[in-house]
């Protein structure tokens, strides 16, 4: 069972991702900010992180920078944001994201990436 | 006032805002043979420009402001305008 951690402060967005991922047979856990995400990430084993940028308490950049310091938790991370500016891409990759997607997410595109990064699950 | 009206000519200066459009339209209707002087006009609201375009008046002087002149001349020079 492939396990995904969704990190976003917007419950609607979390639900949206959850619906997509669960429909494809993946299991999902959620975190509402970087701090909670880091705790969950370190406690569990995830095969993919989907991370928002703008969050209270600890943002997505900081979360990834912290996460990438943990040798045992280097699963791919997709950063998701509404900012298309080039600088954000750079900062995302610099912080440890492996892909950057601009909202609104196109489900098909998202799921293609997810499938490539984690493999298929039988729904 | 950005527009000074006389019997024969409306002289536009500085920035002609949308508030002046009513007055301009009224004056143009009342003075069908009068001309328009834009020399000192720095900018005019598109609504004012549309009004001038519709009036097809002779422009006795184009704006000193080269940029504005470039933008509006083709539109307003439909009449028998001295360049």
């Amino acid at each position: 069972m492939k396990h995904v951690l969704i990190v976003d402060d917007a419950s609607t967005v979390r639900m949206y991702h959850r619906n997509l991922l669960e429909a494809a047979g993946y299991t999902v856990d959620e975190a509402v900010n970087g701090i909670e995400a880091l705790e969950k990430a370190l406690e569990g084993q995830f095969d993919l992180y989907i991370v928002d940028i703008n969050m209270p308490k600890m943002d997505g950049y900081e979360f990834l920078q912290q996460l990438r310091r943990e040798p045992m938790h280097q699963a791919p991370a997709i950063m998701v944001s509404t900012e298309a500016a080039e600088l954000d891409h750079t900062k995302a990759f610099y912080s440890g994201a492996n892909l950057y997607m601009v909202k609104p997410i196109k489900p098909l595109q998202m799921m293609t990436y997810v499938r490539l990064l984690m493999g298929e699950e039988s729904a | 006032m950005a527009i000074v009206y006389s019997d024969k000519e409306a002289k536009l200066s500085d920035v002609v805002s949308i508030q002046e459009v009513d007055g301009l339209l009224e004056w143009l209707l009342e003075h069908p043979d009068a001309t328009v002087n834009l020399a000192e006009c720095q900018h005019l609201h598109l609504a004012a420009l549309q009004t001038l375009a519709s009036s097809r008046r002779t422009i006795t002087a184009w704006p000193d402001n080269e940029s504005l002149k470039g933008w509006i001349t083709p539109l307003l020079s439909t009449g028998d305008t001295p360049q």
Partner: protein
């Protein structure tokens, strides 16, 4: 409705509340920056959510809001009341939209016009503030829709720096692009063959960006003469941006001046107005309808132009074009329109700069030609160029040569070999896709020229590209190319950050996963080899391997940007370490850095990190201990509150109600054990047991009540906005003070209080507080004060609303009450001032001279009073003319449990709410007097009218008297009156859970409800007010 949509609505409402609070906070706050940051974040989240659905209007409004917030965040001085108003309007729209989604089950009715106006208001606000800075000299009065904003000019004059700050994000990319474009054009002519191949590759390029918009039509719709003048003005540029701007017809009403917007576009070079007004008679003209379409050219980048028009993105079409495209001909094709010899002669004349010959040749050719031909157009342009006054001869020559190229192309002739050609572009490929084709070419070209070293690899390996040749599905291939591009980019970031090795590991995992999942065994084997070397520090071979996999290697966009950014982030990192870095963590990072990436971990990491780790424990000994706490607390708090369905709490409430009733049976049981069965010991034990159960039940009830308790702030938080809106509309200046916001009461009470309080506040603002000028004249401060204070007194909640307005004139009230027949003249004389002002609480009383749109909606204070009384509350009004008005509302803390006095009358038990009971007395029959047919008695020197409960309830039997010839009299307060109720006997007080009457009984007004009591019987609770 889908669960996602439900989630969306519920979250949106939460976010709106947050926004509302923050908005008010901004107005007050000294530290605007922090509040604005938070506000931006919430608006941003909200907007992000809307992107998941197809609600364009909603997104448009929120997008505008987000942009404004973003600007305001850069410069808090921008903030003012008008902006708050706009944002409030926008949030109201969002709230209504949500309601509509809910009502229509996901197909909301949307007022697009309103959405446009709201968005435009916000945008116009931004626009106006930047316009002012652009042209500080001119007064921006041309904005009817933004009168308020305009009046605030002074506040915004200080925002000069803002624009540049806001643009920072796009600038690096833009500059980059421009420089590469320049290179492109200079190399274009050299290698047409090479260009073709790159173009082909580009087609496969997994660029996820949207394609270029075809603008050809717009460009070619521009008059040829105008295009020529545009070309002339663009001389010296090679690539420019062509813009078609079609403003909304009603844009003037939104405060737009499209001409100003267009002319103030960064880098605007040339513009042309397509306006049909010349064909409209002046008398028929509606000058307030925008019917003009604007075409213009800018030397700035597309990004800068889009940034400038970001508030009307759907009204502009933007495209990079090469300047020579401006001269591209349009017209019918006819490749034999000009004889080859004539063409050659013309070209030679141009080459020789023999303008007289050129002109002669053109005239000759044109005289034989259909003027609609493309060739004729070119020739006409040439002639225009020749005859154009004051033209620079070099530019003239370039123009002629360019046109000659087009001419050759149109005639399908070999291009004439002009020497010393300064022509910006060969007109090759000019056809339907002239514009987009050329733009694309140059984009590709730029990548070539920029990434020469990267290209070497791909060029060599271009015949066999494993990934492209692997026979993947198109989607997968595209996605993979993108993934690989990005991973390459990440690997090329060589930095000494503590997480750099983790970043590389993540990339490796990405690669392994992808190739595993695609079952590309061969490539996977190669990958293992390079991964091995990457892990031992040779990242470059991994990068090269990825490049070998790619069909297209992009230029290194990062290098310059990333360097800057790295510095930036480095600082961030240092800060982080200061904040929460534990020394072990740092050391282990250090170690892994050295192990995994010795090549990249340079001296900086080796020297700076240990230094900080040493100094850390000394300077901040507490940080290590604090850290786990600070990390874990937020998530615990996050999971500590649970959203529970109201129904579940209600059920709990009912159960505890039954429990209390059941427990109340125990004393009855003890009594029976003792009296009927003579088991005194047993009775004692039951009573002991009862005490235990009673204590637990009470605690339990208390806890459950606590769940239902809500703070007063639940309603009071609406007031700041309400007061602000109303006072602004009335042009009054009002300061609102709210006290005791954490006073708690039952959810039902709090909720039932909302409407009456809003009404009272409206009344105070509308009729109470005077206009600032009037106040000053009366010697009061111009700003009125409205105080709303909640407090707890025993088991009741007191709400006090004070204003320092003009008060209520008792004489006016009396006169009005008389006029309306509410009182008679005798009463008028007798009433004290205090009683008089309380007349406004009577049904059908309204003091407003005129019915205003605020408070005079036909419901007066009597509606407020009845709402308060519905939840067993009372209210009283005090007023002093000229000084102000005070309204006091007293409410039970909970309506769930009512304490009632049980009385007996005609062998029936009835309950009377304890909060109405003043005292219970025994009155000797001899002390009951009949005054004017009313039975009365004197209690503590006060005459109390007496009523027989049996009589009131139309029960036939007379009230019984005890052995001492006394009546049992319950003294109760009903409204403002005190009366004595003659009953048969008292039975003590008891807590009951009152249930409203249902079914046929619900029509009986004499009882407010019924409850079960301990012995299992039903107790009817009297509604004294109705009974009397």
């Amino acid at each position: 409705m889908t669960p996602l949509l439900e989630q969306f609505i519920s979250e949106t409402r939460d976010l709106l509340q947050g926004i509302s609070e923050q908005l008010l906070e901004v107005e007050k706050s000294d530290d605007k920056k922090t509040t604005l940051d938070e506000l931006f974040r919430v608006v941003h989240t909200l907007k992000g959510n809307t992107g998941l659905f197809e609600f364009p209007d909603l997104t448009r409004v929120l997008h505008a809001g987000e942009d404004v917030m973003s600007e305001a965040r850069e410069n808090p001085a921008l903030w003012d009341q008008a902006l708050t108003d706009y944002l409030f309007d926008a949030m109201d729209f969002v709230a209504q939209f949500c309601d509509s989604i809910e009502e229509t089950d996901g197909n909301p009715v949307s007022d697009s016009a309103l959405a446009n106006t709201l968005a435009a208001n916000l945008r116009a606000y931004l626009e106006s503030s930047s316009q002012e800075t652009d042209a500080a000299a001119s007064e921006p009065e041309d904005k009817p829709a933004t009168k308020k904003a305009a009046s605030k000019t002074t506040a915004k004059k200080t925002t000069a720096k803002k624009k540049t700050a806001a643009k920072k994000t796009t600038t690096p990319k833009a500059t980059e692009k421009k420089t590469t474009e320049k290179k492109t054009t200079s190399t274009t002519k050299k290698a047409p063959a090479k260009r073709k191949t790159t173009r082909k590759k580009a087609a496969k390029r997994p660029e996820l960006a949207t394609g270029l918009q075809p603008l050809d039509e717009a460009l070619f719709s521009v008059d040829r003469a105008a295009r020529l003048s545009a070309w002339l003005q663009c001389a010296g540029h090679e690539e420019v941006v062509f813009v078609e701007y079609t403003p909304l017809t009603e844009c003037f009403f939104q405060g737009d001046d499209p001409l100003h917007s267009a002319m103030s576009t960064p880098g605007a070079i040339w513009g042309d107005l397509d306006c049909p007004c010349g064909e409209t008679a002046l008398a028929d003209l509606d000058p307030y309808q925008c019917v003009t379409k604007l075409h213009f050219i800018s030397s700035a980048s597309i990004e800068e132009v889009e940034e400038h028009f970001r508030y009307v993105p759907d009204q502009i079409k933007v495209q990079d074009i090469s300047v020579s495209t401006l001269l591209a001909p349009l017209g019918e094709e006819q490749n034999d329109a000009l004889a080859e010899e004539a063409l050659t002669a013309l070209c030679q004349a141009i080459e020789a700069r023999d303008h007289a010959a050129v002109e002669r040749d053109i005239d000759a050719a044109l005289s034989l030609m259909n003027v609609d031909l493309a060739v004729a157009n070119v020739l006409t342009d040439m002639k225009r160029l020749l005859t154009h006054a004051g033209i620079d001869s070099a530019i003239q020559q370039i123009g002629l040569v360019t046109l000659a190229h087009y001419l050759c192309y149109e005639l399908h002739a070999e291009p004439f070999a002009f020497t010393e050609v300064a022509a910006p572009e060969a007109p090759e490929g000019v056809s339907d896709d002239a514009v987009s084709g050329e733009a694309e070419q140059s984009a590709d070209q730029s990548s070539n020229s920029d990434s020469d070293d990267g290209r070497e690899n791909t060029d060599d390996a271009s015949d066999e590209q494993p990934l492209a040749a692997a026979g993947l599905e198109e989607d997968d291939l595209e996605a993979m190319e993108h993934i690989l591009q990005v991973q390459r980019r990440i690997l090329r970031m060589d930095s000494d950050d503590p997480w750099a090795s983790g970043r590389v590991d993540a990339v490796i995992n990405v690669l392994i996963n992808c190739y595993d999942n695609l079952e590309l065994a061969d490539a996977r084997q190669q990958l293992d080899v390079v991964i091995e070397s990457a892990r031992s520090g040779d990242i470059e071979s991994l990068v090269e391997w990825i490049e070998g996999q790619l069909s297209y290697v992009p230029p290194d966009l990062d290098v310059s940007v990333a360097d800057d950014d790295d510095e930036d982030v480095d600082h961030d990192l240092d800060d982080d370490v200061d904040e929460d870095g534990s020394s072990e963590e740092l050391e282990s990072e250090q170690k892994s850095n050295q192990e995994n990436a010795p090549a990249s971990s340079d001296t900086k990491a080796a020297t700076s990190a240990p230094a900080s780790s040493v100094s850390k424990p000394a300077t901040k000994p507490t940080t290590t201990a604090k850290e786990p706490e600070s990390k874990s607390t937020p998530s615990i708090t996050a999971s500590r509150s649970v959203k529970v369905d109201q129904e579940k709490i209600d059920r709990l409430m009912n159960l505890i109600g039954e429990m209390i009733v059941a427990k109340n049976a125990l004393p009855f049981l003890a009594k029976r054990a003792e009296e009927q069965h003579g088991l005194r010991e047993m009775a004692r034990e039951i009573k002991e047991q009862y005490a235990v159960v009673n204590r637990i039940a009470e605690e339990m009830q208390d806890s459950i009540m606590q769940i239902r308790m809500m703070p007063f702030s639940f309603i009071s938080m609406r007031f700041p906005r309400l007061v602000r809106d109303i006072s602004r509309r009335l042009e009054k200046d009002v300061q609102l003070i709210i006290e005791g916001e954490d006073t708690e009461a039952d959810k039902n009470i709090i909720e039932s209080l909302a409407e009456p309080l809003i009404h009272i506040v409206r009344n105070s603002l509308d009729h109470g507080i005077e206009m600032p000028a009037v106040r000053e004249k009366a010697g009061k401060p111009a700003a009125g004060t409205l105080t709303i204070r909640a407090s707890q007194e025993a088991d009741r909640v007191m709400i006090e609303i004070n204003d320092d307005g003009k008060g209520i004139d008792p004489e006016v009230i009396k006169a009005k009450a008389l006029e309306k027949g509410l009182i008679d003249e005798a009463t008028q004389q007798r009433l004290t001032d205090r009683e008089a002002v309380n007349l406004v609480l009577l049904p059908g009383f309204s003091t407003a001279e005129e019915v205003s749109d605020l408070s005079g909606r036909g419901v007066g204070m009597d509606a407020v009073r009845s709402a308060v009384e519905k939840v067993n509350g009372t209210m009283a009004l005090d007023s002093e003319t000229g000084k102000g008005t005070r309204i006091r509302i007293s409410l039970p803390m909970s309506i769930a449990v009512t304490r009632v006095m049980i009385v007996e009358s005609d062998k029936q038990l009835m309950g009377i709410p304890m909060d109405q009971v003043l005292e219970t007395v025994r009155v000797p029959r001899s002390e009951i007097y009949t005054v004017k047919h009313v039975q009365t008695t004197v209690l503590r020197d006060r005459i109390v009218p007496l009523k027989s409960l049996n009589q009131l309830l139309a029960l036939p039997s007379p009230q019984t008297i005890n052995e001492e010839d006394e009546h049992a009299v319950l003294v109760a307060r009903v409204g403002n009156d005190v009366i004595g109720l003659i009953v048969d006997d008292f039975r003590g007080s008891v807590d009951i859970i009152q249930k409203p009457m249902s079914g046929v009984l619900s029509g009986i007004q004499a009882y407010s409800g019924a409850a079960l009591i301990g012995d299992g019987s039903v107790l009817m609770v009297l509604n004294l007010k109705e009974v009397l």
